[in-house]
């Protein structure tokens, strides 16, 4: 190609190739800049959690991984060592229990309702399903205050943190769209085998609609793990305080120990980040299927 005997078409191809290479280089550059924007705060959180508090807020050297130690992590546990402050382990346990209960409960309850709407015949079904679809537009924020008014007697319990979030109109709708695609022959075969609706659903339908369950599980998990507004209203006792509320209180300590705050944040997010890295494809798939429209 470099020789002068190069033919015209070859020359053109050569310049096109060069142009494409430039394009690709530019593409990579853009990708790198964008990735940096999204990743730097994550990096800063994790690196800062291993550095002395005095060096977390020190200009650009906040990014430099020097003087690394686990002191901040020890500091978090030392700091949160009385019943008045609560314990980190307790916060995490509350978040794990509440989130697990909501995810598990919502998978069972909402899938059954959706199955009933998608595959069974009963009187009043259509109008009730329409109501459920209308309910999908009510965000939790719109009912948070009256709900607090209704259940103020249950404040500071684990149950009230979880139960209101189990039934979810949007999850029902998501399941519904998946169940519509289940071939009727499969259910028919189950019926001929003598299976009732419960067995048909749990032993025949559920196993072939696992993606629906993964989708709802992931979306419910993300919403619940970060739930903040409801605990603000319902929780004042540190022993039942979930992580998002706990970090918002922990970051307000005086004098601020920024290294510890970042260590707290790292412990809050790293398990989730690990799960995300392993199941990234599922996360992405579940979000894109959340865009199904009525």
């Amino acid at each position: 190609m470099t020789t002068s005997t190069a033919l015209k078409p070859r020359q053109r191809r050569g310049s096109m190739k060069r142009a494409r290479r430039w394009q690709t280089a530019l593409h990579y550059l853009l990708l790198a800049v964008v990735s940096l924007f999204f990743f730097l705060p994550v990096y800063y959180l994790i690196i800062g959690s291993f550095r002395p508090s005095s060096e977390v807020l020190s200009g650009l050297s906040g990014f430099v991984p020097t003087n690394l130690s686990f002191d901040n992590y020890r500091g978090v546990f030392d700091h949160l060592s009385s019943d008045a402050t609560g314990h980190f382990g307790q916060f995490a346990a509350v978040s794990i229990i509440v989130t697990t209960a909501v995810v598990a409960g919502s998978l069972i309850v909402n899938s059954m309702a959706a199955y009933s709407f998608a595959r069974m015949q009963w009187r009043g079904k259509k109008i009730i399903f329409l109501l459920v679809v209308v309910l999908t537009i009510i965000p939790f924020e719109a009912v948070a205050l009256p709900l607090y008014y209704m259940f103020s007697g249950q404040r500071d319990t684990i149950a009230i943190q979880a139960i209101p979030f189990i039934a979810n109109a949007f999850s029902i709708f998501l399941f519904y769209t998946f169940f519509l695609d289940v071939p009727g022959e499969i259910e028919e075969a189950a019926r001929l085998d003598g299976a009732g609706p419960l067995r048909t659903f749990f032993q025949v339908v559920v196993p072939i609609t696992k993606p629906a369950f993964a989708t709802v599980a992931i979306l419910t998990f993300l919403a619940q793990w970060g739930s903040y507004l409801w605990p603000v209203l319902m929780v004042s006792d540190p022993t039942v305080r979930p992580l998002p509320l706990a970090i918002s209180i922990f970051q307000n300590q005086q004098p601020p120990e920024w290294g510890q705050v970042l260590a707290f944040g790292t412990m809050f997010i790293v398990p989730v980040l690990a799960v995300f890295l392993i199941f990234q494809r599922w996360f992405v798939a579940s979000i894109s299927s959340s865009a199904v429209k009525g």
Partner: protein, 322 residues
């Protein structure tokens, strides 16, 4: 669908097979399957929603010895005429609208740009995508804490240090969250950081579902890449873009976590960042003025409903074609 489900429900249940449990008495199976979820929705969504409307007509406090007093539309009229309240509520509404006005176009376009950027087979793309998707799993409370440090005032703050480096020291110590001029902008950036990849994933799925033949036809017509983008890609994902814009609008009005957390820590200018939601919680929870907050809730709900109706209409307009 109906034919299949009718078979399931056919009353000709074989007599020789007695029901194995109560539920297999098929007659009530449908309502029974639906009832736990319906009960939950009735108690935790419909009831408080109705209660909000009712409470908005009363002067009422939680745990107060004084009984609730019916005041008609007074809570609503006060919201818009009482000088103490109207100014603050108007400001909160204005902040929400400003937030939406900036975030909706910016985030939708950004989501599109990012989706185009990662929708190409390149070596190492998986890694880039992972970086971009990462903030998705960050709870807003944690996001606010991290960005609070990034924004911290003084030349030790990360953003100030970064800008100082690029500007040769002319910008060094701006109080991004404390200055009314930049506080809302700072919250906008952190919100976009956390949530744009959500919208981007939805757009990406739409991009990949545009039929490849359309692109082939366009390139046979020697359409440039840009012309292809405008004439093939954008029409192909139009509905998705509308959908994304509308869910982002609704997100904008639900804005609460970041603002409440930051205002609690006193690090953000309150007046320029207060939202309808933070005001509902301040009024109803912190100040125990439940009736007033309920009226705000009803107005909040009206706004959300209008947006949702627009969304439905926009989706239906094109729905018949596909």
């Amino acid at each position: 669908m109906t034919t299949q489900t009718q078979q399931l429900q056919a009353p000709a249940a074989p007599v020789r097979r007695p029901p194995k449990s109560g539920l297999t008495g098929h007659r009530f199976a449908g309502p029974l399957f639906a009832s736990p979820a319906l009960l939950g929705l009735a108690i935790f969504l419909v009831a408080p929603f109705v209660l909000a409307v009712v409470l908005s007509f009363y002067r009422v406090q939680l745990n107060s010895p004084r009984p609730a007093r019916f005041v008609g539309f007074e809570q609503y009229t006060r919201l818009f005429t009482d000088p103490d309240l109207a100014a603050a509520f108007g400001q909160a509404l204005l902040n929400n609208f400003t937030f939406a006005l900036i975030v909706v176009p910016v985030q939708t376009l950004l989501a599109l740009a990012l989706a185009v950027l990662v929708n190409r087979q390149l070596r190492g793309m998986v890694v880039f995508r992972t970086f971009i998707f990462m903030p998705l799993v960050f709870p807003l409370a944690l996001t606010a804490v991290i960005w609070r440090l990034i924004y911290s005032r003084g030349d030790q703050g990360l953003l100030n240090a970064l800008l100082g480096l690029f500007s040769g020291g002319t910008i060094t110590s701006h109080d991004w969250l404390g200055d009314p001029a930049t506080a809302l902008g700072a919250i906008i950036v952190m919100s976009i950081w956390q949530s744009v990849s959500f919208q981007m994933i939805i757009v990406l799925a739409a991009l990949q579902s545009v039929p490849a033949e359309l692109y082939e036809a366009a390139s046979l017509d020697r359409a440039s890449k840009w012309a292809q983008f405008i004439n093939v890609t954008v029409p192909g994902i139009r509905n998705t873009l509308i959908f994304v814009a509308l869910i982002t609008t609704i997100f904008s009005f639900r804005l609460f976590d970041q603002v409440y957390l930051l205002s609690r820590s006193g690090s953000v200018d309150r007046n320029s960042t207060e939202t309808v939601m933070t005001q509902i919680i301040n009024t109803g929870f912190d100040n125990n003025n439940v009736g007033q907050a309920a009226a705000m809730t009803v107005i909040f709900m009206l706004i959300i409903t209008v947006i949702a109706i627009i969304q439905r209409a926009a989706a239906r307009q094109r729905g018949g074609i596909q």
